[in-house]
């Protein structure tokens, strides 16, 4: 199949892009998800707005204790940025775990976030980091938390005509780890766990666990986090906490993994991510 015919515009300013999106056009970022969907006619936009030429969308910078990453920063840019690697290693580690080199060279943070594939990697890290996502629409910017942003499979709080402008993550000093069970051919996460742990005086003072792949939408495993906080973070504490990760979740079932298998993997990989994160926590 081939894409239906469409109009194509490559604006160089954000304002122009927003105007076109407001007029019903669809954003094109890395195209890694959109172009195949267009070939399959799962998407048949009449007008594509290529975000790739908008310089003001492509940046990674530090501002008042947080990293601001523009929507068109590629996975590769995030993975290889010295700033992200040192100041928010969880995000760099997650970016490096996405798909393969060709995908990381094209795919963008904004595209991945907006696409909201339930098996995408970034959402796990963004949940664990309590990231903020800045959206731009005709009326200007609004900022939502990662927890609010992801609604359902391929569904976010983005309104028609609105776009992802940037993602804000904290400068992070916790011990972190991203562990995933990739669908071995595509790399998509059958289950992906992003863990952050802070310790003080031999106790876990803060634990954050972001989960992707398990259910239709990424989430923070707050019960498991709570179970870990205040403990010594021993292997037994970790196992106890990990066991809670999939509790009550409406796990996805598909040809790659049944719901039960996904839940089981989530528990095992939460354990593994927490052990690794704990090892890195000060």
């Amino acid at each position: 199949m081939f894409p239906q015919t469409f109009d194509y515009t490559a604006p160089t300013t954000l304002d122009e892009a927003v105007k076109l999106l407001g007029g019903g056009a669809k954003a094109l970022a890395g195209g890694m998800s959109l172009i195949p969907m267009m070939k399959l006619r799962l998407a048949s936009p009449e007008h594509l707005v290529d975000l790739g030429r908008i310089k003001e969308l492509n940046y990674i910078r530090e501002e008042s204790g947080a990293l601001h990453i523009g929507a068109t920063a590629t996975h590769y840019a995030v993975e290889s940025s010295p700033l992200v690697r040192t100041k928010c290693p969880l995000l760099a580690e997650t970016a490096a775990a996405i798909g393969d080199v060709q995908v990381r060279n094209m795919g963008t943070l904004g595209g991945a976030v907006a696409h909201a594939d339930p098996s995408a990697d970034y959402p796990a890290a963004l949940q664990a980091l309590e990231a903020k996502i800045v959206l731009r629409g005709a009326g200007g910017d609004r900022t939502v938390s990662a927890a609010e942003f992801f609604v359902d499979a391929f569904t976010t709080v983005l309104n028609e005509g609105e776009m992802v402008r940037e993602v804000i993550v904290p400068v992070d000093t916790s011990g972190v780890s991203y562990q995933k069970v990739p669908q071995p051919a595509s790399g998509f996460a059958m289950v992906g766990i992003a863990a952050r742990v802070k310790k003080a005086g031999g106790k876990v003072t803060e634990a954050r666990i972001g989960v992707t792949g398990l259910t239709n939408s990424s989430f923070r495993a707050t019960a498991a986090e709570k179970a870990l906080e205040g403990t010594n973070g021993s292997a037994a504490d970790i196992q106890k906490a990990a066991a809670l990760v999939a509790q009550g979740s409406d796990a996805n079932s598909d040809i790659h993994a049944s719901a039960d298998y996904r839940k089981h993997l989530a528990v095992v990989y939460t354990g593994r991510a927490l052990i690794a994160a704990m090892g890195r926590a000060q």
Binding site: T5, F6, G23, P36, K39, D50, Q102, V151, E160, A185
Partner: protein, 932 residues
Amino acid sequence: MSSKKDRRPTKRPISRRTFLEGTGAVLVAAPVLQGQSPAGSPGVSADVSHRTIRLTVNGLARSIEVEDRWTLVEALRDHMRLTGTKIGCDRGECGACTVLVDGKPMYSCSQLAVWMDGRSIQTVEGLEKSGKLDSLQQAFIEHDAPQCGFCTSGQLMSAKAALTKNPRASRDQLRAAMTGNLCRCSNYHRYIEAASAAAGTPTVTPGAAFYDGNGTPVAKLKTVGRTTTRIDAKQRVTGKATYSGDIQLPGMLYARALRSPHPHARIKSIDTSKAIALPGVKAVITHENGKAVWGAGSIAGGRQYNEEVKKITTQKRYAFNNPVRCVGEPVAAVAAVNRHVAEEALALIKVDYEVLPFVMDPEEALKPGAVKIWPEGNLSPDVRNELKPITEKRGNVEEGFRASERIFEDRYTTAFEHNAQMEPRVSLAHWEGDKLTVYTPTGGIANCRNDMARDLGIPMANVRVVCQYMGGNFGNKNQNQDADLIAAMLAKQAGAPVKLELSRKEDFLGMHGRWPTTQYYKVGVSGSGELRALQLRGYSGMGPYRKNSGAIGGVELYHCEHVEARVHPVYTNKTTSGNFRGPEFPQGFYGIQSMMDDVAYKLKTDPVEFVRKNMVRDGGEASYTNYTLEECIRRGTEVFEWTKRWRKDPGSDAGPIKRGAGVAFVAFRAAVGRSSAICKVDAKGHYAVHVGVTDVGTGAKTTMGLIAAEALGVPLSQVDVVWGDTSSCPYSVGESGSRTTIMTGHAVVEAAQGLKKQIAEKGMPKGSDVWTSSVDANPTIPGGKVRNSFGAHFVEVEADTETGRVRISKYVAVHDSGRIMNPLTAVSQIRGGVIMGIGMALHEELRYDYRNGQPLTPGYYGQRVATHMDVPEIDVIFIENDDGYGPFGAKSIGEASKLPAVAAVANAIFNATGRRMKDLPIRKSRVLDALA
């Protein structure tokens, strides 16, 4: 469009499931091409939005007009005629289309061409600088990186980018950098070896070790047996090798096929009027006006198609069938001025179906009252067109069971596994008067030609079949395809050459893969663990047509007085099954060697000892031209360190990672037989050998050259190999059954000897004279001896009991393939076969939803073919010998390497976990369930 108050989430009308199932759905090899195509087919259509972009391609600034909807690969291949970049999936899965954009590797199938405005692109064609190969290309040649070569450009570009970024990249870094590039030939080791050699940090990989079989050293020869890079390797690493899909003819039209969405349906009517009326459409055919029997597509007994078989086969398959009997069967086809128009026309065809009930499982299909796919029922007729199972009997099993002390019974199942060769099917048909030329990926140009003539009812002399390069075979390509017939019929109707292209999904569904089986075994043994009786009742799912045998191999591996095997090839409404690397063996070997392994443990015997005691032996069921099974096993246990790795008590490791070892063996035909060759010499002392091979990736061209050079007593550089075109090559047996080297190679020896005799009698030719020696050889082995290749595989696995993941931690493959013609390509063949075997054991399957008859995984990702990251080290050992037959003692390799791998892996998993895995593939979740 949206107000700030409107905070409703934007629902997307797709689920992840639809997206995944859609992936690879009816995607086509990239659209349009025009560039230098003839007048009348402009680059861009005026009515489609388009623009001029400026970009740099391989260092050259260019300005080209592109349609907005074109992908980059389409612009490159069709408009700029840079066909070195390939399309394997057209949807970001395989990496065949990888090019560098501003130095970074990207999938050109998933980028719009317009996006390239102002950017710089490098393709495989840009690696060579002023006629000098890049050092990476050189390394690819020296390390035998390309087998079929279809993935090679992509691998090169990914490796190039990785090495530019880090010239000293480690093997692991290279693997990670290249993991987006699939290789179905599974030559992953070679790609990494080549790239790390270019990085200047080659680490030693276990290559091959050679031992002389039976204590008799094999005398070294001059040319044969020397490590030789492929004679066509340069074409394969520069993008110059011309595959069928790369060919463009003046005035050529593009064709697409409409396929059945139903597993079983009667076509009540087809309305093509709107499609015909669409401007640009030149021909439309359906079962009504495109009638041709596809003989090779349905054969009584499923053996080689010929005049005899044609006469007795009553269940005929047509290019278009009514009723349609599986999802993906062609229903109509359209030829048009470009692919976009052809696609649009398909959407205008209205088919009125009467949907029929369907049946997916072979055992279900034999039950009384099951849906009948053919009026005669669902048991497929045998070679005599009688409704009987394939039966093999020796002795009297009942007697054998009575004489047994213990009897064991079990059931094993295997999955449908698609060949998934990297090059999607394509066929370009061109009529000149009543003469037809077909450019098509076939490993059997001669058989394809015969089939086309027979099916179209024209003299064989009027058909020419050409295949110079082919992107992988693995079976089912030693005959014509329905695509060839459809292209030929469209071309006839349109009065112009027609190229019919299949998308990746169509290739999966319209073509053929390994038949799934259900195997029931009953085994009787004596008190001392000797086989007394062996019984197999098997069911093979053939899909709706009997394309190939449907047999289940394996009982012949054992020495046993009383044997009975009854295998039922059964029709189902899945896509048609067919030959795939060792057609009936990997699945049968898995079943029977799992069964026997299990018996060994139940008798508290070391499985290696059990194999030794019960395997076929010389002078038992047969006498062999030579017999090295014993030696293969002895050498393997030693190198593998069996006693150290094998757990006497299965599953006894503490975990969570448990280790264990498994063994399986192979005896596989290496029979001699009929093929032809022509050898020529001219006055300048240039020799040529004409052989009807394509070289599907095995290195056959090079092997033929080596054999000719050896037989003629001249260096390889003095011999031209002429291949892949029925107009210049004699009949050849075709590349299937691992017999090209043996049969066509033998013909080459005879032809060379004939030529030498002429030279001895007449001297060398003078002036414009050319001496020609043409041979149709048909050697036999006296005394009824059987000629086999042998081998044994030893595997160690690590099973993660928390996740079910199985990792191969040690692999030793020992093979007697007679004398090795070219160690370089022989090792590549073995490793490729092993990797495919591991894939079949652990993850490959074309899955179906039995509730609606729909395929779930028709694509690379779905079927889950192996990637760079899946590949373990594989030690290859050859037990070399020369039994005096075949060319210089060569025996079979290509298939033998895959056959025992599946069973060996499964047996190792048992040893590691204590759980017998009775269903393929042994997915992680199955391992975990078994451990629960």
